[in-house]
């Protein structure tokens, strides 16, 4: 098991958007029954067969680091959180489709994570402004996930989808809309199949 390479993916987003539920769903193939606030960081692991079925098949452990908190928290909290941002291979940005502010805060989240990575001294350099150029040269792939789509009434759904299309354009990302239905698993669960599209 030690010979398998390490893949570290951060899961970022405002509090209450559903990061812990998402991570639990991906790794345990179960819906999280009693979500509670994440203090610090919770990690979960998913085994992924890369290029399954081909001769180059390789099994990876994907570590999903679910970091709790909000963008507006105290600087002591932010500097402690920065400890988790070392050497990431990918970032998943989660936002709540019923709450516009959580989508707007995603810019700040991505800046927080990416700036920590690039500067060697560990000091957060940016002044908070969003710059699309930064994302163009960014080697870390991003995936945007919008949650709670089923809680939006039918009439507003198209409006929400246009908004998310703009958002993914800003991040220079491709968009996938997933609806994860709640299935009550019996004794042998069929694993939830989700392919990780690495987006550039």
């Amino acid at each position: 098991m030690a010979s398998l390479d390490r893949v570290k993916v951060l899961v970022l987003g405002d509090s209450g958007v559903g990061k812990s539920s998402l991570v639990h769903l991906l790794c345990q193939n179960q819906v999280l029954g009693n979500p509670s606030w994440t203090v610090g960081c919770s990690v979960d692991v998913r085994i992924h067969d890369y290029k399954e079925g081909t001769p180059e098949e390789k099994t990876f452990y994907i570590e999903l680091w679910d970091v709790g908190g909000s963008v507006g928290s105290a600087s002591s909290l932010k500097s402690t959180r920065a400890v988790f941002y070392n050497s990431v291979n990918g970032i998943i940005l989660v936002h709540d489709l019923t709450n516009k502010k959580s989508s707007q805060n995603l810019y700040r989240w991505s800046l927080e994570a990416l700036n920590r990575d690039s500067s060697p001294t560990g000091v957060i350099v940016s002044n908070g402004d969003y710059d699309r150029e930064q994302f163009a040269e960014n080697p870390v792939p991003l995936l945007l996930i919008g949650t709670k789509f089923d809680q939006i009434p039918e009439s507003k759904r198209s409006e929400v989808l246009t908004r998310t299309a703009f958002l993914s354009e800003d991040f220079l990302a491709e968009e996938i809309n997933l609806v994860i239905e709640k299935r009550y698993f019996t004794r042998d669960p069929s694993p939830v199949r989700l392919s990780f599209y690495l987006l550039f």
Partner: protein, 444 residues
């Protein structure tokens, strides 16, 4: 008069949008309106006091505005806000979604019942008044509000020196923080490796389980049972270890945050602002000690101050220092300044405390309810601060407050404030000492 009310309303609205609801989306505008209305009418009360001292507007129009304001505030605090609180709480509970209005009314009636019962153990009812008079309502609101004021003052009295003074700051070096961070990352790595084992074991069990199911017959069944049992026992052991490690990681995280914030406070205390606040902290702690002393004396000797500080200050200067000046003229101005300062600092202090409280406990589901609760607290706080401010004003200005609010036992409220203040203070100080001493022992 009305323009200023509109101004206050606008300010409350802005405060709501910018500060409180920074990270949430406002979906129910009712909440925002109610909050701003409460804020606007509370501020108008203070404005009326200032006008009273300055002598602006005519006496009858002031009286009219007072009455109007009072009625509106009581209406909002007792009818509107509790009803909406009940409504939003009920909306959050899925079971009762259908009959929201009905349940909200039920909640409101329960609230009214307890509110009424509140008046029984206190000596505030005089038999002259009827059941549904203003005095009844104000007296109860006053009791709750004064308790809140004493709570906040007590808490502020202890918290203020602790935050401002650098005496309480532990010495934190960068090395400490780095060491803790390293421990935290090591713990996370251990959690990751254990989870990898769990995932791999589960996968193998699942694959093996498929093979096992193909085995039929008696012996096949027994074999499948025993092998899966050992696998799952192993799993549960590792799972327990993971749970313990996760708890450890959470604690390490919190400790690191604590150290970081202490380090920032140390850096801040070395700046000019920091030194200034440090000095203020000493000043405040002396003031708090004096206040405790005064409160104890008031209770022990059963005495409530008869004259207000302004008149007494002027008397002292006239009698002992022999400086002659026009008492009436100066008393008006000084009391205006004093009352103004009290009002501004109490409003500012309350808003800051409310904001901090809101950030600490709100989530996207409960934000509406919490804002309404805060609006209720704010309204009651302001009403009772008007009540207590009566003591700080010279006799001639007290008359209108007494007239408008009816015949309440004002002395009772002062005494009640002192009692609660002392109780809270003692509780907090004992707790803090206990907490601090345990913290020191952990670190050394």
């Amino acid at each position: 008069m009305f323009t200023s009310q509109v101004l206050f309303f606008g300010f409350g609205w802005l405060f709501f949008m910018r500060q409180l609801f920074k990270d949430y989306e406002v979906r129910q505008y009712v909440v925002q309106v109610v909050f701003s209305v409460t804020f606007a009418f509370s501020c108008t009360m203070f404005e009326l006091i200032i006008f009273e001292i300055l002598g602006a507007l005519s006496s009858s129009s002031r009286y009219f505005h007072w009455k109007l304001n009072l009625y509106v505030i009581l209406l909002v605090l007792i009818f509107v806000v509790p009803f909406y609180i009940g409504y939003f709480v009920v909306s959050n509970i899925r079971l009762l979604q259908r009959q929201r209005l009905l349940f909200a009314c039920m909640v409101w009636f329960t609230f009214m019942y307890f509110f009424w019962k509140l008046g029984d153990p206190f000596p505030i009812l005089s038999p002259k008044h009827g059941i549904l008079s203003i005095e009844q309502l104000i007296s109860r609101v006053g009791v709750i509000g004064v308790t809140l004021m004493a709570l906040l003052s007590g808490f502020g009295a202890v918290n203020c020196p602790y935050t401002y003074m650098s005496y309480f700051l532990r010495n934190v070096t960068d090395g400490d923080i780095l060491a803790l961070e390293r421990r935290l990352l090591q713990t996370m790595d251990m959690i990751v490796s254990k989870k990898k084992r769990i995932a791999m074991t589960r996968r193998q069990m699942y694959q093996r389980g498929e093979d096992q199911n193909k085995q039929t017959g008696f012996w096949g069944m027994i074999k499948s049972v025993t092998s899966t049992q050992s696998g799952s026992e192993n799993l549960s052991l590792i799972q327990q270890e993971v749970d313990a490690l996760e708890e450890l990681s959470r604690q390490l995280f919190l400790e690191t945050v604590d150290l970081q914030s202490t380090k920032e406070r140390i850096e801040y205390s070395k700046t000019f602002q920091g030194k200034y606040f440090n000095f203020l902290g000493y000043f405040f702690s002396i003031y708090c000690v004096w206040k405790i002393f005064m409160a104890t004396i008031n209770i022990v000797f059963d005495r409530v101050g008869k004259t207000d500080p302004v008149t007494r200050g002027i008397e002292i200067t006239v009698n002992y220092l022999g400086i002659q000046f026009d008492v009436k003229f100066w008393s008006q101005h000084i009391s205006f300044i004093l009352v103004g300062i009290i009002i501004v600092t109490s409003i500012r202090g309350l808003l800051i405390t409310l904001t901090k409280f809101f950030y600490a406990i709100s989530s996207s589901k409960s934000s509406n309810v919490i804002v309404l609760v805060l609006a209720q607290i704010m309204g009651m706080y302001f009403v009772s601060s008007v009540l207590l401010m009566r003591m700080s004003m010279p006799l001639e200005y007290r008359s209108i407050v007494t007239e408008v609010l009816g015949e309440l036992q004002f002395n009772f409220y002062h005494r009640w404030f002192d009692v609660i203040f002392l109780v809270i203070l003692h509780t907090i100080i004992t707790w803090t000492c206990f907490f601090l001493s345990s913290n020191y022992s952990v670190f050394s």
